[in-house]
Amino acid sequence: MSTEPEWLEPTSLEEALALKAERGEAVTVVAGGTFVGILVNQRLLAPEAFLSLQRVAGLDYMRANGELRLGALVTHRTVELSPLVRERWPALAHAFSLVASPRVRNQATVGGVLADADHASDPPAMLLALGARAVARSVRVEREIPIEELIVGFYETTLEPDELLVEVRVPGGPHRATYRKFRSRSHEGRPAVGVAVCRRNGELRVVVGAVAGRPQWFPQLCDPVADPAEIGRAYAEAIEAISDVSGSAEYRRRVVAVEVRRALEELR
């Protein structure tokens, strides 16, 4: 008979970091639990211990001094509804508003959606396009990791075994951005293709999420003065795509061409 998994419930970040340093990859971190819960229920995950952050105080802050700083436990719903985010980072609020249903968004967290590195989610592509960085902390050190270096594959990040993702930093200042979510089935479904685009200081970032293991950004294809349709075609050709219940790889490439073009046209 297997034993009950341990449920570790620290009340301070220091305590949580100490536990993470001690137990490393043997513990599964739980924030909102919307993703981990599914994996456990489907028996894809059976860790010996869970490290819950739900009682850790002081990780649900939202601050903006030039850049936006979101504590790891800020929920999707908080980002979506925040007047501050809506005014200064409207595309970010929009991307979070498109995740699943309000029931899920009330629970899912900003830290969780990045640390899970679930390919079929919306916020990572948008955060990458906005030039966001994650802050990882351990008992040893605190470091910033650009999103493009954080998520490296299906459910895979560059977080060290003793690190916790504690904050997300989104650059401020004038920018124009948008997020387009393409669902092949229900409105509450996960994206088949997600396209995030941001123009800032004459630079362009186009990021495509949900079509393979990590959000894909091709800086060499992001010529800020190129024709949107041309960039769309170039992305469709360059992109790595998977086939699953949301659509075949070939179909996803076609949608990438269309949705990248449309996202760029929205910013004209």
Partner: protein, 691 residues
């Protein structure tokens, strides 16, 4: 207040018996495999295991073909087939114990597609077909021995070849419809116990008496030694028909000498019963003015590894396939075919959605070919009172044209039909069919109703209580509805095919009359509807009561991605007389939402022989955000008319109306659901082969 609103209701899943153990099923991971051995030696104390050798002496079951055993004995026939089960003191201990059962398999060739399964030389899922004899084997079965076809039903009306010879235009197309899962909010749930050699089962079921018959047969008991009680269900839509998990719970309980409860985890719903995937080929012939002269239709219903009610589904798919039209020459062949996929059975619409999809799409192809308005083409041919259907029966109380015209008007059909689609259909009710009910006067002016009509969220108990109150001249609050129990309720065919209000309503009239005339405390009423079809010619009485409905849809299609948005959806259903208006309207709206899910999203996806989307993240049902901006429905009533069942009527025409709306934009879709990828493929077929 309604106990479902206050939370006072106790659903099937909430029935607990003292000392009960919790069961879990061990399932084959292979679509077809020989079972070499089942080792339960790793199970801890306190667990009881059920292995093939424990059930080898029990009788096989199956309501139409006796093709299933309590556990797979020598071969597992689909990925998900039950090969063992365990019972343990807690649900969690049962889950862990199930993982400790070690089954050794040898893989065998699988057959995963209905057209492959009917090909000569296909691996046989069952070597022989043993026919059932009970209450659900109500028609002549025509198994094709030595093939995977467990029932072949035919309609032969007029001379199809001669009909096509005089046609000015002939169109033909082949359609595919995916399998779907019912997704009832409450999963299949039962608890079984043995009391003094008597088996008692509490289970969410639409078919108490059929289930009692099956359990009695399996365990070799007389009927009166089996009791089935059906508490209210949190939804069913066909998922809780006939025998599902009850025999496993009963066999475990017999071995454990304790009550055993079995609640299916959500993911196992997809491994227990789904809707038939189907292939339907339709050929229609008409004169230049649009008069239909011939129809030639093949239906292949994929029933999976066990027939369940598949033969009945295939038969209804077949006899409803020509649709509510006067067609003098009709040939239909409908086959129920085994594959090594999870079993398929009853699902709201019962086969008639699949053939309605194919026929109504083909009618639009014909209209296009003849240069006619699809509405005019249909109106020219729709059955009217006194017309003969292809079964030879004379149609009465016919309202197809009214339903269709009302639906067409709702979308402004005559003001322009681009992006719009129509569909009309007829659906049979269980025939032959028997219903009985007892009304008992209690003390203090109250009455108790004993009847086997199951409550699954459709509001049947409320509706029958309202009828009783009206007939007895009392307030509905003085009517009590006893929980259906084979020990106390009189025999009823089953709560399916939208028959309960119509059949029980008439039985109730007789029961109230009996109560009054006898002057006693108890009145009894029974209604028997005779009928049935010859399986080789389709002659006879298909349905003593026809469900009639039409749908209209308006869509927008993103032609670059193939994404379909339904902006307007309307159904018009013939209700005759409405008894419980809120429930009737909710039935219609619910049916439309089921139809929308079928049209756009729902699909049991198989890869490597196994279901890969058995969860509600990867299997999409419509959310409220997916509903059309305008979703409306109409119940057509006629003074003095009899009650018409309407629990399913609005399901079958909805996908076809949406498909025809997409096709009106020049995208000839043939496969359901209309995923963006399929729509784009269809748009390309048009480009590749200009008409």
């Amino acid at each position: 207040m309604d106990p479902r609103v206050t939370g006072a209701v106790r659903y099937a899943e909430e029935v607990d018996l003292p000392g009960q153990l919790y069961a879990r099923v061990v399932r084959s991971p292979y679509p077809h495999a020989r079972i070499l051995g089942v080792d339960v030696s790793a199970l801890p104390d306190g667990c009881v295991a059920l292995v093939p050798d424990d059930v080898r002496d029990l009788q096989p079951y199956g309501v139409q073909v006796q093709d299933q055993t309590v556990l797979a004995l020598d071969r597992a026939l689909y990925a998900g087939d039950a090969v063992a089960a365990v019972a343990a003191p807690t649900p969690r201990a049962a889950e862990e114990a199930a993982a400790l059962v070690d089954v050794r398999y040898e893989e065998l060739p699988a057959v995963l597609d209905v057209l492959e399964a009917v090909r000569e030389g296909a691996p046989l899922v069952h070597e022989t077909h043993a026919l059932a004899t009970g209450g659900a084997a109500y028609f002549g079965l025509r198994p094709q021995q030595g093939t995977n076809v467990c029932h072949r039903f035919r309609v032969r009306h007029g001379d199809a070849d001669a009909g096509f010879a005089e046609a000015d235009a002939v169109v033909e197309e082949t359609y595919r419809v995916a399998g779907a899962q019912h997704v009832a909010m409450e999963p299949n749930a039962c608890v079984a116990r043995w009391e003094g050699g008597r088996l008692e089962v509490w289970t969410g079921t639409q078919t108490l008496f059929n289930l009692r018959e099956e359990l009695a047969r399996i365990f070799g008991l007389p009927l009166e030694r089996v009791r089935v009680v059906s508490p209210p269900m949190g939804g069913s839509f066909g998922a809780k028909t006939f025998l599902r998990t009850e025999a496993i719970a009963a066999a475990l309980s017999r071995k454990a000498e304790r009550p055993v409860k079995l609640v299916l985890p959500r993911s196992e719903a997809w491994l227990t019963l789904n809707r038939h995937p189907a292939v339907v080929r339709v050929r229609l012939g008409a004169r230049a003015d649009g008069t239909l002269v011939a129809a030639d239709i093949d239906c292949y219903a994929d029933t999976g590894a066990y027939a369940d009610s598949g033969p009945g589904v295939a038969q209804k798919m077949g006899f409803a396939a020509p649709g509510p039209y006067r067609i003098p020459n009709v040939r239909v062949d409908a086959c129920c075919v085994y594959t090594t996929l999870p079993p398929n059975g009853a699902y709201r619409g019962y086969g008639q959605m699949q053939s309605t999809w194919a026929r109504e799409r083909t009618l639009d192809l014909l209209a296009d070919r003849l240069g006619l308005d699809p509405l005019d083409l249909r109106l020219r041919n729709l059955l009217r009172d006194g017309d003969m259907y292809c079964t030879g029966e004379t149609m009465r109380d016919v309202h197809f044209a009214e339903c269709l015209e009302s639906a067409a008007a709702a979308v402004g059909w005559r003001e322009g039909r681009r992006g719009k689609g129509l569909a009309v259909m007829l659906k049979g009710m269980q025939t032959p069919s028997r219903a009985a009910i007892a009304v008992e006067a209690g003390g203090d002016d109250g009455f108790t109703i004993y009847c086997a009509t199951a409550e699954m969220g459709q509001g049947a108990w409320r509706t029958i209580s309202l009828l009783a109150a009206e007939l007895l001249g009392v307030d509905v609050s003085s009517i009590r509805f006893a929980i259906p129990d084979t020990d106390t309720a009189p025999y009823d065919t089953r709560t399916t095919s939208s028959r309960s209000t119509y059949m029980m309503g008439r039985a109730l009239e007789a029961a109230v009359r009996d109560l009054r005339e006898s002057g006693g405390r108890r009145g009894f009423g029974e209604i028997v509807n005779e009928g049935g079809l010859d399986p080789d010619t389709g002659r006879g009485i298909a349905s003593t009561h026809w469900h009639q409905g039409a749908a209209a849809a308006e869509v927008r299609v993103d032609e670059e991605t193939g994404k379909v948005e339904v902006v307007r959806l309307h159904t018009s259903v013939y209700a005759g007389r409405v008894v419980n208006r809120p429930a009737a309207e909710l039935q219609n709206e619910g049916s439309m939402i089921v139809g929308l899910g079928t049209a756009l999203f729902e699909e049991v996806v198989i890869a490597d022989g196994a279901v890969v989307n058995a969860n509600l993240s990867d299997y999409s049902v419509p959310s409220f955000a997916d509903l059309p901006g305008r979703l409306t429905q109409e119940l057509l009533e006629r003074g003095g008319a009899e009650i018409h069942g309407l629990g399913e009527t609005a399901v079958p025409p909805v996908p076809a109306a949406i498909g025809n709306a997409v096709a009106s934009l020049g995208i000839p879709v043939t496969g359901l659901p209309l995923t963006p990828e399929r729509v784009l493929e269809a748009a390309e077929r048009r480009v590749e082969s200009p008409a």
